[in-house]
């Protein structure tokens, strides 16, 4: 029941030997064929076989297989022709080719194709549909060292997969209309679908899928380029199976979609155009496979046209012609492949007179070509007759009394012409000269598949009623159900208009070929007369290039690679969004009366704002100034915190301010200065002023926006906040009077844990980055201050104190302060739980104390006397904090639950010792570690300069000696 599963599995077990692979593939194909054939009794007379497995039942997607007459016919075609192709390919492929890949793809394709035809669920069908595109891409690009193969593969993939996506969309629309993706349900809802408002959409999408797959105008151009594939692939995919998927889809959905004028114009129109264009183009091909490809296009157009006509009989004809085409075209391709294989070329200008060299092959090919031309007694004739009949009948109905029959006849004539071309140019004429190889008959087994197919053409053409009729009936019933019209597969219907058309076509076609042969010297035609300008391939490539360029331009104009535009957009969006959301606010000022303004506070902020604006003004060329100015703003912020009762914030802000200043200065050492443009004699371009104007507007707007928001918030009533709880529970529950600190280490200690992780992480990142730091070349030499003034004494190595001379006094004072600052750190740490302070502030204070020593003594000297391993401090701090948190587990409490111990010591009395205190210790340790790591990592860079200076000195000295 699941041959394709077996084949797909087998496909991914590549072996090395050609024979083994072929046997495996052949066996699977044979098994499939046999199995399919055995199912005939079940599906004949309208029977349907179903297999269903739950997959995504909630969304109406199940894995369901459904075999009715139509599916059976197609399945048989897929497996049967597949078997022949495998046999053929075994001899066609050269030993150098990676055959395992070939067969595995081929089998995968077979599986997918079976999946398409046997799908009982439309989504699943779309799935297999796309799969066939994928695999065909791989098969076309099989010889991917060739540029044409790559291009052809990409083209085929792009077109068919795009169609597949359309089909997917169409199927989704169908599912939306019907409320189910099951084929059975869809087939039962034809009326609903055809009258639904989105019917046209569904139709167009599905048509796009089908037309692209079946290489219908205007998507036909990919098929000739797909001929870069190995010939077995062409024979299989591009004649017998994959291109038929589109047709299959149209047949499959014919009962629900057909019968409307939309259907007629879209499907029929595309079919008609394809029929004519394909046939016309086929005549002028020089490549054997190109001719076959265009003829395939044309025949598919015929089938599509038949389906588009919308009459049941035409549909039967379409099914019939599908089968016929598969047989004769596959055999033609095989013949072409044999010729290619034997002669080394497929160029019809170089081939001729092969009949004498390989008569059997020639006969086979000619039989098939005749079938293609619609010569009586061959299968092509019968289906073509049916087509002519319908063209006459339906053309009258839809008001194309003349157009349709004439077009049909002209197309028939064209097809006769190119069939002639195929037969005459290749097999007749003078013996071929300077071919790459000397042709002879191929090995028997390679010819066998073609022989079988040609035989089928003959048999079906001569005795249709005994061969194909029951199968055709089965398929037709599956599609049309009770609508199956009366039709007859007799060869002779009497002298009717269609017969006349047939003969006109045969005669006209032959005449046309003769005229072209003589008059236009067909062999020298390089491009298609008349319509070469409308090359689908060129349009396709142009469209793709254009689309890419357009996308590129759009991406660039909708996006930006620079940082500033990106930031402008972000700021604009943020401001816009905030304003939009708050635009309904009745007034900015809320009901709460603001507090009386304090003039000192106002003055403070005059200072703060002046500093901020000054900083903004100076930052480009006067970094140091900007740094000092931003310090002024920071000070204003800090005092504001204190003013409004936030001592912890003020302390922290102050210390962070100090550390940041040191940090920035450490950084400035490695940032070469900028000269003002006027110093360099440059003028600022006008565009820069425009940018600045925009940015100024934006920043003013943003500032006003945020000011407005905060004013609106500050004048709104204070909500019933969760903070009341913290005030109430800080002392009894958290064991601390400083609610902010209790929040930090207890209520929201979890935040603090994250926060210290951030700090530690950043410190590690900074360290890692500085390990591979490459400073700006301009900043590598020692600063001029040091080269000019030198160092008072030594460089701090070997314990010699570098702080002598004019550095003595500052060093003495700073060193005296060290124990005092350390004591202060301990003080801040210990009392943090009840008063402003805490681990973070204390850690910063201690770090500052250390850094002061670095500033006075230099890195080398300090580190020879103080061994800090900041990374371990970070690790320890984290572990300490987490360990405290985990300690709560021991007592059965959640992570970080605080416990207050109150040991009573002699002499001292009760000492409150909350576990949060230990947590804070972790914070303290980490902060010291992280701050020191960041600062010293930067400070260590300076050692490089000193070493570089020493190196240049050392290098200079020996050079000078000879002069002395």
């Amino acid at each position: 029941m699941l041959p394709f599963v077996g084949s797909a599995v087998a496909a991914f077990l590549p072996a090395n030997a050609r024979n083994r692979e072929a046997w495996l593939a052949g066996a699977i194909a044979l098994a499939g064929t046999v199995q399919a054939a055995l199912m005939y009794p079940d599906v004949s007379y309208g029977g349907v076989l179903r297999y269903e497995a739950a997959w995504l039942p909630e969304l109406g997607l199940s894995f369901s297989l459904r075999m009715d007459g139509l599916a059976w016919i197609f399945a048989l075609m897929v497996t049967g022709i597949g078997l022949l192709v495998v046999l053929y390919a075994r001899y066609y492929m050269s030993p150098e080719d990676p055959v395992p890949r070939f067969f595995s793809f081929l089998l995968a394709f077979m599986g997918s194709m079976l999946g398409v035809v046997m799908s009982g669920n439309l989504i699943q069908m779309a799935l297999f549909w796309e799969l066939t595109s994928m695999v065909s891409f791989l098969l076309i690009g099989y010889w991917h060292h060739r540029a044409d193969a790559r291009r052809g593969a990409r083209m085929a993939l792009t077109v068919t997969a795009a169609g597949g996506l359309c089909l997917f969309a169409g199927v989704l629309v169908l599912g939306h209309i019907v409320g189910s993706y099951e084929l059975d349900d869809v087939l039962a809802s034809g009326e609903l679908i055809r009258t639904h408002p989105v019917y046209t959409l569904a139709l167009v999408l599905i048509a796009l899928g089908a037309l692209t797959k079946s290489a219908q105008f205007p998507f036909h151009f990919w098929l000739p380029h797909a001929m870069a594939a190995p010939t077995p692939v062409s024979a299989y995919l591009h004649s017998a199976t994959m291109v038929k998927a589109g047709v299959f889809l149209l047949i499959r959905l014919w009962p629900v979609l057909a019968g409307t004028s939309d259907w007629f114009w879209i499907i029929g129109g595309a079919g008609l155009c394809t029929l004519l264009v394909g046939a016309y183009a086929a005549i002028f091909q020089q490549d054997l496979k190109g001719l076959l490809a265009y003829s395939t296009i044309s025949h598919l157009g015929l089938i599509t046209l038949l389906l588009g006509l919308g009459s049941p009989l035409a549909t039967v004809a379409a099914i019939f012609h599908t089968m016929n085409h598969a047989t004769f075209k596959a055999s033609l391709f095989m013949a072409a492949g044999i010729i290619d294989h034997e002669c080394g070329t497929r160029d019809m200008r170089r081939l001729s007179g092969l009949y004498r060299l390989m008569p059997v092959t020639a006969t086979l090919a000619m039989v098939a070509a005749a079938a293609m031309a619609g010569v009586p007694l061959l299968n092509g004739f019968i289906s073509k007759e049916m087509f002519f009949t319908e063209a006459v009948v339906v053309g009258n109905e839809v008001g194309m009394r003349f157009a349709l029959p004439v077009a049909a006849t002209v197309a028939g004539a064209f097809s006769v012409a190119y069939s002639w071309r195929f037969m005459h140019d290749v097999f007749f004429g003078p013996p071929p000269r300077d071919l790459p190889r000397t042709p002879h008959e191929p090995v028997r087994w390679m010819r066998l598949p073609a022989e079988l197919l040609a035989f089928a053409c003959l048999v079906v053409g001569i005795v249709p009623a005994y061969t194909i009729a029951p199968f055709l009936a089965t398929a037709a019933r599956a599609v049309l159900g009770e609508q199956v019209p009366h039709y007859s597969l007799e060869i002779w219907h009497g002298f009717t208009l269609p017969l006349l058309m047939s003969f006109i076509a045969l005669g006209g076609g032959s005449l046309f070929y003769l005229i072209l042969q003589k008059g236009l010297r067909l062999r020298t035609v390089e491009r298609l007369p008349l319509i070469y300008r409308f090359s689908g391939k060129r349009s396709f490539e142009r469209i793709l290039t254009l689309a890419t360029a357009l996308a590129d331009r759009l991406t660039n104009s909708l996006g930006a690679r620079g940082l500033q535009p990106q930031l402008v957009v972000i700021v604009m969006v943020a401001v816009g969004v905030g304003l939009c959301a708050a635009r309904g606010l009745p007034s900015l000022r809320g009901p709460v009366a603001p507090g009386a303004a304090d003039p000192a506070f106002a003055l403070l902020w005059v200072m703060g704002i002046v500093c901020a604006i000054g900083c903004a003004y100076q930052a480009k060329y006067h970094r140091l100034v900007a740094l000092a100015l931003i310090g002024g703003s920071g000070l204003a912020v800090c005092i504001t915190f204190l003013w409004f009762s936030a001592p912890d914030l003020a302390l922290t802000q102050l210390l962070v301010e100090v550390v940041t200043t040191i940090l920035m200065l450490l950084g400035l050492r490695w940032l070469p200065s900028r000269k003002e443009p006027r110093e360099l004699g440059l003028r600022t371009p006008a565009s820069a002023w425009v940018h600045r104007g925009r940015d100024l507007l934006l920043s003013v707007g943003c500032g006003l926006g945020l000011a407005g928001l905060s004013y609106a918030l500050l004048t709104r009533p204070y909500p019933d906040t969760i903070s009341s709880y913290f005030l109430e529970h800080a002392l009894p529950g958290g064991g601390g009077a400083n609610v902010v600190n209790v929040l930090l280490v207890d209520f929201r200690g979890f935040d603090t844990m994250g926060e210290i992780t951030v700090l530690g992480t950043v410190a590690l990142t900074v360290y890692a980055l500085l390990r591979r730091f490459r400073p700006a070349p301009e900043s590598i030499p020692l600063p001029h201050q040091q080269t000019d003034q030198g160092k008072p004494d030594g460089d701090g190595r070997g314990g010699v104190d570098p702080s002598t001379g004019y550095l003595t006094v500052p060093a003495v004072l700073v060193r005296l302060l060290l124990p005092a600052i350390a004591l202060f750190a301990v003080y801040l740490f210990l009392r943090g739980h009840n008063q402003p302070g805490g681990g973070f502030v204390a850690g910063l204070v201690l770090s500052v104390a250390f850094i002061l020593q670095y500033m006075m003594g230099g890195t080398v000297w300090v580190e020879s006397r103080l061994r800090l391993v900041p990374q371990s401090w970070i690790g320890l701090g984290l572990l300490f904090a987490v360990g405290t948190g985990l300690g709560a587990w021991l007592f059965g409490y959640p992570f970080l639950t605080s416990h207050a111990f109150h040991p009573t010591l002699p002499l001292i009395g009760e000492v409150p010792l909350p576990s949060a205190f230990l947590f804070d210790l972790g914070v303290f340790v980490l902060v010291v570690g992280a701050t020191m790591l960041i600062l010293t990592a930067l400070a260590h860079q300076s050692i490089r300069s000193h070493r570089a200076a020493q190196h240049t000195q050392a290098a200079a000295e020996p050079g000078e000696r000879p002069w002395n």
Partner: protein, 91 residues
């Protein structure tokens, strides 16, 4: 009704004005050392402002912040000064 809060407010105004003066010097320069000096003065005035505030609100804790400025406020300035003097803060 005590005179002390008003005196404190007056002192705070003085300190704030002094801060503005320092800021002007900070902006004006003209040289880096002037600016560093101005920043240092700014910090010192801020410290005094905080002490006045402590008296005004009778809250001894404001004093802590003043102490921090007294003890560590100079660090930024000496870092800047060292930078001017040696071209780098930590050699």
């Amino acid at each position: 009704m005590s005179v002390l809060p008003w005196a404190c407010l007056a002192a705070m105004l003085c300190f704030a004005l002094a801060m503005i003066l320092a800021t002007l010097r900070l902006l004006r320069g003209p040289q880096a050392q002037d600016r560093v000096l101005a920043l240092d003065t700014l910090y010192m005035n801020a410290m005094l402002l905080l002490m006045a505030m402590a008296i005004r609100y009778g809250e001894v804790l404001y004093f802590e912040a003043a102490l921090v400025i007294a003890l560590l406020g100079f660090v930024g300035s000496i870092a800047l000064a060292k930078f001017l003097l040696r071209g780098e803060v930590i050699e």
